[in-house]
C-alpha cells in the first residue's frame, strides 16, 4: 500500500472519529436537558425512548416502507426534473433572447419556497402521487435549468474555439466538448437540485400524503408522539447526508480530481 493511501485512510478514520465524538456530545446534551426536566416528557423524550421507537418502526416495517415510498417518489420526480430542466436549459442556450429572459426570472424561481407549490398542486392535480411529484419537480427543475444554462455559458470560449478549429461541430461538439466542459459546474447544480427535491418531497408528504417519511412525521405530530417525530427527522437527516456525501459529493470529487481542480495551494 502506498504512503498516500495510508495517509488517506488515517484521515478518513480521524474524520469518522470526530463525527462520532460530535454525535456523542449531542446525545449527551440532549440526555442532560431531558434529565433536568426542562421540557415535559411528552415534548422532549429521552434518546433511549427515541431509540425504542426506531426499533419499533424498523421491526413493524414502517420505516423501510416509508423510506422506500419517499425515495421512489423523489427519484421519479428528480428524473423528470433533470430531463425537463436540461432540455429547457439547452433551449435557453440555443435561443439567446429566450435564455436571457428566463434567466432574469431565475432568482425568483430559485428562491420560491417548495411548500408554496402545494396548494396549487392540490387544486391542479389533487391529493395523489402525481400531485406530490409535481411539487418536487417544480421545486428542483429551475435549479437544473438555470445551472445547465449558466454552466454552458461559462465554458471558457477557448475550448469551443479549439474544438471548432479541429473540426468539431453540431452534436459532436455538444457531446465531446460542451457537456464535459460544463460538467464540474453541472454537478454543483445537480447537488443543489437534489437538496431542493429533498425539501420538497418531505414538505409535500407532510401535507398531501398517506404514506412516506413526511407522512410518519406528521402522524407523529397528530398522535403527540414526539419520539416518532424525532425518529423521522433523524432518518430524513441521515438520508440527505448519505446521498449527498456518498453519491453526489463523491462524483464531484472524482471529476474535480480528474480536472486537477483541487490542486490549489
Amino acid at each position: 500500500m502506498s504512503d498516500n493511501t495510508l495517509k488517506k485512510r488515517k484521515r478518513n478514520f480521524d474524520d469518522a472519529a470526530n463525527a462520532a465524538l460530535f454525535i456523542a456530545a449531542f446525545i449527551g446534551v440532549w440526555q442532560l436537558v431531558f434529565t433536568l426536566g426542562i421540557f415535559p416528557q411528552i415534548s422532549l423524550p429521552s434518546p433511549t425512548m427515541v431509540a425504542e421507537t426506531f426499533v419499533k418502526i424498523i421491526f413493524n416495517g414502517t420505516l423501510f416502507w416509508s423510506v422506500g415510498v419517499t425515495l421512489g417518489r423523489l427519484l421519479a420526480a428528480f428524473a423528470v426534473s433533470i430531463t425537463i430542466g436540461a432540455l429547457v436549459g439547452f433551449t435557453m442556450i440555443k435561443f439567446k433572447s429566450f435564455g436571457k429572459t428566463l434567466n432574469s426570472f431565475s432568482a425568483g424561481l430559485l428562491a420560491f419556497p417548495s411548500i408554496a407549490w402545494v396548494p396549487f398542486s392540490i387544486l391542479l392535480i389533487g391529493f395523489n402521487e402525481f400531485g406530490i411529484m409535481f411539487v418536487v419537480v417544480m421545486s428542483s427543475v429551475f435549479s437544473i435549468m438555470i445551472s445547465t444554462y449558466s454552466s454552458i455559458r461559462n465554458i471558457p470560449p477557448i475550448y469551443l474555439d479549439a474544438a471548432k478549429n479541429m473540426g468539431a461541430k453540431g452534436f459532436l461538439l455538444f457531446r465531446h466538448v460542451t457537456i464535459p466542459a460544463a460538467t464540474p459546474s453541472l454537478i454543483i447544480g445537480l447537488r443543489q437540485a437534489w437538496s431542493f427535491s429533498w425539501h420538497a418531497v418531505i414538505g409535500a408528504e407532510i401535507l398531501m400524503s398517506i404514506v412516506g417519511l413526511g407522512h410518519i412525521l406528521s402522524v407523529g405530530r397528530e398522535f403527540l408522539d414526539m419520539s416518532q417525530v424525532i425518529a423521522s427527522m433523524i432518518t430524513i437527516f441521515t438520508i440527505g447526508l448519505l446521498v449527498d456525501r456518498f453519491l453526489l459529493h463523491k462524483l464531484e470529487d472524482k471529476i474535480r480530481a480528474k480536472w486537477g481542480l483541487d490542486n490549489h495551494r
Binding site: Y159, D161, N165, G167, H176, V177, P180, T183
Partner: protein, 258 residues
Amino acid sequence: MTKLQARNIVKHFDHNGNSVAALDGVNLNVEEGDFICIVGPSGCGKSTFLNIVAGLEKPDSGEILLNGKPISDSGPDRTMVFQEGALFPWLKVIDNVEFGLKMSGIPKDERSEISQRYLDMMQLTKFANSYTYQLSTGMKQRVAIARALAMDPEILLMDEPFAALDSQTRDLLLVELQLIWERTKKTIIFVTHNISESVILGNKVEVFKNRPSKIKKEIIIDYRRPRLAEDENLQKYYHQILDELKSEVIARTKDEIQ
C-alpha cells in the same frame, strides 16, 4: 506554390460604442513550406489576423484563399496552437491528441497509430495517460503542438505558443520546432511579440504596423538551421526588425496615453 493568400483583410472592433480599426488591408502571400513569423506591437491585431486565417473570426472585408479557394469556416486544415494551449482538462493527453482525428471520424486503430507517432515526436509517450493538470506548461504546449500536427493540417497556425514558458523551455522548443518544420515540411504562421523568437524561427518575418494595422515590412531570413538563440549572426536581423518596430511601439504608447 502559393499555399495561402490574404487579400486586403480589414477588421474593425467595437470599443465602447466606437469603431476601432484593427486591420486595415493586410495582404500576405504564404508559399508552401514557408515559416512565417508575424511580429508587431502589442494590440496591433496580429492575433486577430491569425484568428481570421483560422476562420475563428470573420473579416469585415477581404478574403483568405487556401490553395486558391476562399475559406469559409474554422476547420482542421488550418489547426491552431493557442497561447494557453487550450487542452481539454477532461481528456487524457493521448485523447487530447486524438481529439481532432476522432471528430473527423478516423477509426480507432488509425487514431492511435497517428497519436503514437506525434507523442513520440514531442517526447510525450510516457505521459500519454496523464491528465493535463499533471503537466508543466512546457509539456502542455508540446501536447498542443502534437494535437495540431496530428490533424496533418495544410497550415499550422501558432498564436504566441511560447509566451508563457520559462526561457530554458522556450529555447528547447524553439530548436525542436525548427526540426519538426524541417521534418514535416509544414507551412507555419507563427505570431509573436518576441523579436528573437521570430528571427530564430522564421524564414520570413512580417512586421505589423501599429493599428490600424497592415504589414509594414517583410524581412527574409536566409540562414542555416537549426538556429540557436545565442547565435551572434542573427543579431543583424534582430536589429533590423527592432528598428522597424521601434517607431510602431512609440506610436502605440502614444495611443494608449491619449
